[in-house]
Homo-oligomer: 425 residues x 2
């Protein structure tokens, strides 16, 4: 292991690993084939560790649905009992995985396999199911099960074959990120461009993998109609890239941000796998018609990996369309610019390979430094989908939320303890 | 015919027609099936009327290529003689058509058929051939001919069937324009988002029109790889929309801007089909490596219909990535914003259905008013591809150019003559 004289040197090395990373979508497979522990009665979830009893209702609903999908129970009541008594729960992050909303993952669900070609490590995530009645919003019935089986046995099989037709054996993700950040995406609540570019890359391959005609039509219809399909792929790319960066076990860079509906949590490069948790900050939400704060589930999901990766709220300037949804102070371009200017104060550097035209070609922010967060008092800003607090209703709005400052202060104290007092930025 | 009390009232009615228009891609067919005059030895070209002898070399080259493609000659020398002695030439605009670069169109070439559903009128344009050795850059050989036949007999047939599968019998163009103007496109030199969205709409339909496997793969590969494919579709939409607007034969709105490599030309709503021409302004070009002003063909093409439609240089603020190519004064976001703010001074109104997030959701400019152009001294700004002055070399850079002010002053004088003196804005 390389040792660094200063935290700054370590942070620069970490940032360089993030900039140099080459994430690629290399396969789609049932999760148990790549996460061996999922052969057992294990359910992975978003955020730091949490007991089933403490999970928000839609996350419990998704876990119950997953238990039914796995055939661990015949009905909802039995599935609930199984979740309460028999199932082991663990964070996705403990198994190189991430998941949107509740992030529920079991062995039979299909996952994207993202490989970071520069380091060879992999990350996993479920595929975006579309909107409406879907498992990630805590609903499960025969139709949801059928859709999940179709995603595994038709869509997943097609994509698995298709990505292997790319020159390097996988769909390169950097070109999609680099183009889409110049096309209005923040990759967290606006993913239209990336989803379109991904579809443009994949469709010609999908047409040549021997799918039956009906399957090909279904797959193209689904991908064409799902403007958010890239969301979890971006998350998994972030996970693969930040896991590789975290192999430098030094420095003060955030390698993960996540939340389980009760707590916000981070991990930091110099502090290994330790979780630093804090109470969630209140969401500021623009609700869809008919919904209000009274309906909102607390902020949930591993999707804040997008911000740890440098996108989402940090690239607000790239996605001014989002300001209509999550902006304050008028919601115009100036607010988006001010948000990115503020967030740039807490990062190590910027990525010259991903210039943002709206920002005079300044690069995407790289590496949130917990020292800078604490010293400036600027918490990372996260844009996010807000789901209903009851299972089965789904998304009720789009919001923004600040990372919990107490995570950063606690992590900085731990870092000071580990390094002596030389932790000032 | 409705009569209006003032030019302003007429202009507002024209602007409303532009805003209300519903252009759709309804077919792809050989040009002669929709433009009967192309049964004869007629070649259509970009810009106002021009004789073959006066055309820039690449435009002559494209005409010679088209003559060979039509089988009017066996070799280049004979084709040149045919063009000089036998062929009739006329502007695309005289036949509800538009064309990129030289804009050469003959009967056997396939064309997009765009219908404006609100008025039922149609417009035509050749499809974008891709880059490299292509007819629009004035090159013709066996490979170019083969590609054009493939575009007509495979791509064109596939698209013709595919667009008929949309609910209203055509691919709606407004949703693509409205989304892509929020995704960094100006639709003239940056068309990546629109081309991607168009592909996302078309691919699932193309998969179900019964193309042989090899043809389907070729078509998807071609469309997936051509980031500029939407260019001419946007031009034809502009033509269909502005032709419908021009049925109000009153007011002072520009209904067409175009250039033939010698002259810039406009038409104006209150002045019928009359051309107002002037000398071309010099291009400001960012050249690809190895090229300079000495290589540039004068500005050519009907593509300035994009600016007459309200896009291109007018929406610079929406496409700051283009500033790297065509910007002045640093090429940053502020320049893009200043350009759109300036151009907004010469239009009638803006389109509330196409808000630009980068511009605090201000709408796309609608209706260039020649009175405002003359009074402010602000000429419309056109972003454009610049081609080599010799046939067969192709694009050498990306540039910007001002519309020729003398066209506007001459048109305003004609309008004053027609209307008395009440022509002040």
């Amino acid at each position: 292991m390389t040792t660094f004289r200063t935290l700054d040197q370590a942070n620069e090395a970490i940032a360089q690993k993030i900039i140099d990373a080459q994430p690629r979508l290399v396969d789609v497979v049932p999760a148990r084939t790549v996460i061996a522990a999922l052969e057992g009665k294990l359910i992975l979830h978003a955020g730091p560790p949490i007991a089933f009893a403490d999970m928000p209702e839609p996350v419990q609903g998704a876990a119950i649905g997953a238990a039914l999908f796995e055939g661990w129970a015949r009905d909802e009541a039995e599935a609930r009992r199984v979740c309460e008594e028999e199932v082991q729960f663990a964070p996705n992050h403990h198994y190189q995985a991430v998941g949107a909303m509740g992030g529920i993952l079991t062995g039979s669900l299909p996952v994207f396999v993202v490989e970071n070609a520069t380091e060879g490590n992999r990350a996993y995530t479920t595929m975006h199911e579309g909107e409406g009645k879907v498992l990630r919003f805590g609903v499960y019935d025969e139709a949801v099960g059928e859709h999940l089986r179709w995603m595994r046995d038709v869509l997943g099989v097609g994509l698995s074959r298709a990505v292997k037709l790319f020159p390097d054996g996988g769909l390169p993700i950097n070109p999609i990120l680099a183009q889409a950040v110049a096309m209005g995406d923040d990759f967290h609540v606006r993913i239209n461009a990336a989803s379109s570019l991904m579809f443009r890359d994949l469709a010609p391959k999908l047409a040549r993998v021997g799918l039956p005609q009906e399957a090909l039509e279904e797959v193209l219809d689904f991908l064409s109609g799902n403007v958010n399909f890239f969301l979890t792929l971006g998350m998994a790319a972030g996970k693969a890239v930040l896991d590789a960066a975290a192999t430098i076990q030094d420095g003060s860079v955030v390698t993960c941000m996540t939340r389980n509906g009760r707590e916000f949590a981070i991990r930091v490069s110099g502090l290994g796998d330790r979780w630093f948790t804090g109470p969630e900050e209140p969401l500021e939400t623009l609700y869809f018609p008919g919904f209000s704060d009274a309906d909102a589930c607390p902020d949930t999901g591993d999707s804040a990996i997008v911000e740890a990766y440098g996108f989402g709220g940090l690239v607000a300037v790239a996605a001014p369309a989002v300001q209509q949804l999550v902006g304050t102070g008028g919601g115009g371009f100036a607010d988006a610019l001010a948000t990115s200017e503020e967030q740039a104060e807490i990062v190590v550097t910027s990525n010259p390979n991903m210039p943002i035209p709206n920002w005079d070609f300044r690069g995407v922010p790289v590496g949130i430094d917990i020292r800078k967060v604490v010293e400036t008092g600027i918490a990372p800003l996260i844009t996010t989908a807000v789901m209903h607090k009851k299972a089965g209703i789904g998304q009720v709005g789009v919001g923004k939320v600040r990372a919990a400052m107490s995570c950063f202060t606690a992590a900085l104290e731990a870092l000071a303890e580990a390094h002596g007092t030389a932790t000032q930025a």
